[in-house]
Symmetry: C2
Subunit: 378 residues, 2 copies
């Protein structure tokens, strides 16, 4: 037990050759006589030799590892992003080092530590400060950011939060005629969220409505959603629709409203963001915005991979498209059996008022549907 595995030397001794030869055979190089190769292979097999990652990494100066930094590990969104990232990483023969900074005060140290055990880093949204990111980049650590605005000189992958929120809220205002809405979510430290808020505000301006002064602040979990629902119910003037920063908030909102006897969407409409796994199965089925979380992870990994490959820093930016998924919680008629909004007539709900069925369901090929908006190689 705990055997420290045989080394090149032991194999070499047993096969009666030098370590260089064993190394070559182990890596499957040419210019080895069939006979020698046989002997070495046999020795490798008998001793159960496996090349040491330590030795290899030291001389190649490569960890063979990609690092990814998240604010937290929970929630379907992060899971999906990580999954996409992981797929690309293993496809490239890299391992995945993961770090959730959660509420740890020493997050910066953790990230620093990760930086010198990975060949490159991907960092999510509002995880660590811009200064740290810049410092790492300056130190020569390949680093790419995701789910946040671009940082000068640092490759970035993100999702378009503004346009589809604008479209969604316009749908609520123009098509459904709702005139008083609330936005619930926490703007601070969540770059994605401020863009959503911006879209929310703009939709009001477009319709010559005055938006609320500020969002109803809330963390992005169900429990916070129920808190928010309680506050909404306490409002002097109840909103006609509540635009939630993500699906979890919307879910908490939905169930709390229902429990309070408020009919959704008849009295208050509710929307989410993410189109997570449960959105479709909520009651009523949740109108939300689908974002290509997995593709985001994949794009980030790919960018990081080429960044590492080149050694030099590159200018690279990817923006993936998102789209409103119209179900029932906004007030549209929706048939859960088919997954289609049931309405006839015009195809553009944002202008003329009729829901469009192309927008309805994110299918399994959703990732490929999200077009890459901008991509400037360095």
């Amino acid at each position: 037990m705990g055997a420290k595995g045989p080394t090149l030397h032991q194999v070499a001794d047993r096969a009666g050759v030098s370590i260089a030869t064993v190394s070559r055979v182990a890596r499957g190089l040419d210019h080895i006589s069939a006979e020698t190769r046989g002997r070495v292979l046999a020795a490798i097999d008998e001793l159960n030799y496996r090349p040491s990652h330590f030795g290899r990494a030291l001389v190649k100066r490569r960890h063979g590892t990609l690092g990814i930094v998240f604010p937290g590990l929970r929630g379907p969104y992060y899971a999906e992003v990580i999954h996409g990232f992981e797929v690309e990483a293993v496809a490239a023969g890299m391992s995945l080092l993961i770090l959730g900074t959660e509420l740890l005060p020493n997050a910066d140290t953790q990230v620093l530590g990760m930086a010198d055990r990975a060949d490159g880093l991907a960092v999510m949204g509002g995880t660590i400060g811009d200064d740290l990111i810049q410092r790492l980049a300056a130190r020569g650590v390949p680093i790419v950011t995701m789910a946040r605005p671009q940082l000068a000189g640092i490759p970035n992958a993100r999702v378009d939060n503004y346009a589809s929120t604008l479209a969604l809220v316009t749908h609520l205002i123009q098509y459904h005629g709702y005139d008083r809405l609330e936005f619930v979510g926490n703007i601070m430290g969540a770059p994605d969220a401020v863009e959503r808020w911006r879209g929310f505000v703009q939709a009001h301006l477009d319709a010559e409505l005055t938006p609320p002064d500020e969002p109803l602040s809330s963390a992005y979990e169900q429990a916070s959603g129920v808190q928010a629902a309680l506050r909404v119910l306490d409002l002097a003037r109840r909103p006609r629709a509540v635009v939630c920063g993500n699906d979890e908030i919307a879910t908490g909102m939905l169930s709390t409203l229902a429990a309070s006897g408020v009919r959704v969407p008849d009295e208050i409409a509710v929307t989410g963001w993410d189109d997570g796994p449960f959105a479709r199965y909520a009651t009523p089925p949740l109108t939300t915005v689908s974002q290509p979380a997995r593709a985001l992870g994949q794009q980030t990994a790919r960018t990081l991979l080429v960044l590492i490959e080149r050694g030099e820093s590159i200018e690279h930016e990817v923006v993936l498209t998102t789209e409103p998924i119209i179900r029932a919680s906004c007030g549209c008629p929706f048939d859960p059996a088919t997954g289609f909004t049931m309405a006839n007539g015009d195809r553009n709900p944002f202008k003329e008022g009729a829901p469009i069925d192309e927008l309805i369901e994110a299918d399994s090929t959703a990732n490929t549907r999200h077009r890459e908006i901008a991509l400037t190689g360095g």
Copy 2:
């Protein structure tokens, strides 16, 4: 960019000392004169020196890394387990190497590869074959299994699937009087699921009912839940209750039944497993079983850590308790506002028929509530 950072040698040159001294200063060891230390520290700072993980790892023969292998990365359950694992890992100063074998055919190779870049491995349920696990253990790789039955000589952490399923189904049969039930889930390759099925069957036998011959096979996702629901509705004799293998299946089931005009729980009762984040907010709120997923991850990490520490193999087994969470989908009256099942009288629903409120809600301290059943240190 891409600078290969300064080494001990460069710092030593600059400070006019030997590399040994720099190494000692860098690690904060004693027996260094204040003056020398100052010079070295200055040099370190000026050159922006950071010790190379490569060199360190090579001589210490330690990666400083824990590996964790999963069948997949998605779903709240896995996310929670990983999170627990990660918390313990970073607390011990270890990084987390993660691998989702998904559907990859070369999973074994991947795991092998991970084995020699981590100081120890944790592998989840039905991810890789028993033989591979044994082989790794024999090779001296610290390895612990989780969410599966114990393997001889290999530390294991799991959750009690049998008892609480038995309790839950007994509740359905004895308290609610349901006499015809179905179980939906996939037994194959999911060690946890077979235990749940076993509890399901036993509850029937205890009540002198004949259980169905086999589970309604289904993957553990919402989409599979809707498929299963469709099959349930097609059954010649509809069940009075459907026990689902996890919350996702139950969710798909719930929404599909509702969409088909079947009233839950009045016509068909539904239960889940996991008590995931959405269970409480489903319509109707889902009766399910709470398992301490995060604690499972933590326990596994801790076990792995001591296994690595000792070097020798240890005998260790942890079984965490689970508990039925009675909400409304089983037919109990439930007040979503308070989170309490509304019923009076007896405190044990499984024997006498009255729901018990202690069982009702898993709160944020849930993890600590789950007692460690067995723990035999080696």
